[in-house]
């Protein structure tokens, strides 16, 4: 049995706003094995970034964790003081933020920004050691070392993204969290960057959480995947198992929402309606207003965890699991 590096246990979080509480995470639980890549998918506003930020507690002031635990290497991060947590950021867990490529400071050379980041988090690095490290990182992410002394405006979008990845790798973290690192990039550039990121991850034996709304990217990149909906992790398991037999009707619908450039041209399936407002999410199963299998139970009681009969770690929150009791998985 492989070692668990990260365990999220019943995590709940809300944002307090003038209009009321936004229930951004509701009792999220999963375990991630060391060395694996986890893909997190879900539509805008379902809580992906919130979950990522909660792990490092990089949360805005109005956020409040209302329950649960986050264990990293068996240590409960939520019990750590801010000072202690700082030891984890960058060195053990690093993050590539959503839209990070716009975050490079325009007036500083890219190389210097990475050197500064290294020295901030690992003061033992001298300037020249840090500079050497930057060269090594540039090679790793496929950037020409002559670019180290260039300013961000001299970089293309794809190059900026590589620099951001280099920065996230700077202190050799055990876990890297990448929040939509390639949205807004052209497909060829995206492909190159993802390939590179994955190769580096494998070489360095890092664990990764990769956040995306594109199920095709997740399918290719991650061994395990989680599907989020309205603040809940509604399904989790090996990517192969989820694609073979989705349990949650939302997952099944999502998988059939993406046309493919290869293979048979299947009719897309429509999930009617829109995701709920998290100020006032529906009772019971959050997906029930859009679900074709809805019954009275779904409207009232949060679904229990259902485990796949063929894969222990594959589970979903659903009263009417697809594939159970001979019920056909109608995504095909």
């Amino acid at each position: 049995m492989a070692e668990t590096i990260l365990e999220i246990d019943n995590l709940s979080l809300r944002y307090k706003t003038k209009k009321g509480d936004v229930k951004a995470l509701n009792r999220v639980s999963f375990q991630l094995e060391k060395g694996l890549a986890l893909g997190l998918v879900g539509e805008s506003g379902c809580g992906k970034t919130t979950l990522a930020n909660a792990i490092l507690r990089l949360l805005p002031d109005n956020a409040e964790i209302t329950g649960g635990h986050i264990y990293f290497d068996k240590e409960d991060l939520l019990l750590l003081a801010e000072q202690e947590l700082r030891e984890y950021r960058w060195k053990k867990i690093s993050m590539i933020f959503q839209a990070a490529m716009n975050a490079l400071a325009p007036v500083y050379r890219v190389g210097d920004q990475i050197i500064e980041a290294i020295q901030n988090h690992a003061p033992e690095f001298t300037y020249s050691a840090a500079k050497e490290r930057v060269q090594r990182l540039f090679e790793l992410v496929g950037l020409d070392c002559s670019r180290i002394d260039h300013y961000p405006h001299q970089y293309s979008g794809g190059m900026k993204q590589r620099a951001i990845i280099a920065m996230a790798l700077a202190c050799d973290p055990d876990l890297i969290i990448a929040d939509e690192p390639t949205t807004a990039l052209d497909v060829i550039v995206q492909d190159r960057i993802l390939k590179r990121l994955n190769r580096v991850r494998e070489e360095l034996g890092m664990t990764m959480i990769y956040i995306s709304h594109d199920i095709a990217v997740i399918a290719e990149l991650s061994k395990v995947m989680g599907v989020m909906y309205a603040g809940e992790l509604v399904e989790f398991g090996s990517t192969l198992s989820l694609f073979k037999q989705a349990i949650h009707p939302y997952t099944a619908g999502l998988m059939n929402s993406f046309p493919s450039i290869k293979g048979a041209k299947n009719q897309l399936s429509i999930i009617p309606g829109e995701p709920p407002n998290l100020l006032n999410p529906p009772a019971g199963c959050k997906f029930h207003p859009r679900c074709q299998y809805v019954t009275a139970q779904c409207r009232q009681v949060r679904p229990p965890l259902y485990r796949s009969p063929t894969e222990q770690q594959h589970f979903a929150l659903c009263w009417h699991p697809l594939g159970a009791n001979g019920k056909e998985n109608d995504h095909e």
Partner: protein, 324 residues
């Protein structure tokens, strides 16, 4: 039926830009650089390519929102460049454009009813109560129902998907022959995107309207379109029947582009073709193949010859490459 609704010949759009230290130097950006294609009646024609290749500029030329530098656009048998005032009015009634960003394309101070009814007003179609009926009818069709619950609302009171439905309703209400849809779903979330894609497909099948569907998402283009053209730096490098181009791409660029599209199937082993560099701006171009610098099959001939023209390599499949 067989004669095309729209025919584009040698279409060019150059933008003049100032560059150099004192911005005194006048240069040309060759956004669209001599493209030709035909769109049949009732067809969904896809225009694909990476950011900056000239897709939106082409769309704007086709709806006459900007004037071409050179070339000809023949719509319904008439060149749209030489139309008189009456004909321009008719033309504006037969073509519509749907934009990427439903937040920006709708007037925030108008109600949903006024937004959708505006083209009817402009083109003096129907008396007021008839307009109400037309608007209500199209709203039901695009899934804004019950219409009564939407008509007095403003764009900011709708979700992104609903706003894009309003934009589609507005484009469809005057029953155009031709719609340019410029990345209409790229800002929408997955489940809403699929709803809008299916809506456009349904409306197209019902009304036999022709579409130029602009997208950078090749999988969506394959799903919706019967023919596509692939652009690279202002040129069409490959075009033809959708399955031929997407399943058996011939141009090195198209091959690389299609090989880079992720496949929503974890058991599929995708091999991508590695190409160097990225897309640049079409300024100061050498008179040769636009893809030369990044091509992995180039040779002496490609270096010294002009940009190759599209030629037919099989029925309904055209490519602009000396190696094919």
């Amino acid at each position: 039926m067989n004669e095309p609704l729209l025919e584009v010949n040698g279409l060019e759009k150059y933008f003049s830009i100032k560059s150099g230290f004192f911005r005194r130097e006048l240069k040309y950006l060759q956004a669209v650089d001599g493209i030709s294609f035909k769109i049949k009646r009732g067809q969904m024609f896809g225009l694909v390519g990476e950011s900056g290749c000239g897709k939106t500029t082409t769309g704007r030329l086709l709806v006459k929102s900007i004037a071409p530098t050179a070339g000809e656009i023949v719509f319904n048998g008439k060149s749209i460049i030489e139309l008189d005032d009456d004909e321009v009015r008719d033309f504006r009634q037969s073509v519509q454009m749907i934009f990427q960003d439903p937040y920006q394309s709708l007037n925030p101070r108008m109600t949903i009813f006024d937004i959708i009814a505006e083209p009817l007003k402009i083109h003096k179609i129907g008396a007021f109560n008839q307009r109400e009926e037309l608007v209500a009818g199209i709203m039901e069709k695009v899934g804004l129902s019950p219409a009564a619950s939407f008509i007095f609302r403003y764009p900011h009171e709708l979700s992104g998907g609903q706003r894009q439905r309003v934009a589609i309703a507005r484009a469809m209400v005057i029953k155009p022959d031709f719609i340019v849809a410029d990345e209409p779903t790229s800002m929408l979330d997955v489940s809403i995107r699929t709803q809008v894609i299916e809506l456009m497909k349904k409306l197209q099948e019902e009304s036999r309207v022709s579409y130029l569907y602009i997208t950078h998402d090749l999988a969506v283009a394959r799903y919706l379109c019967t023919e596509i053209a692939v652009m690279y730096l202002g040129k069409i490098v490959e075009s033809g029947e959708i399955e031929k181009v997407t399943q058996n791409p011939a141009h090195p660029y198209t091959q690389a582009l299609i090989s880079a599209v992720p496949i929503p199937d974890p058991s599929y082993q995708r091999e991508s073709i590695a190409i160097i560099g990225g897309v640049s701006k079409p300024i100061d171009l050498l008179p040769r193949c636009r893809f030369y610098d990044r091509c992995y099959e180039r040779d002496q001939h490609c270096q010294s010859q002009a940009m190759p023209d599209l030629h037919e390599i099989e029925e309904q499949h055209f490519v602009a490459c000396y190696q094919r």
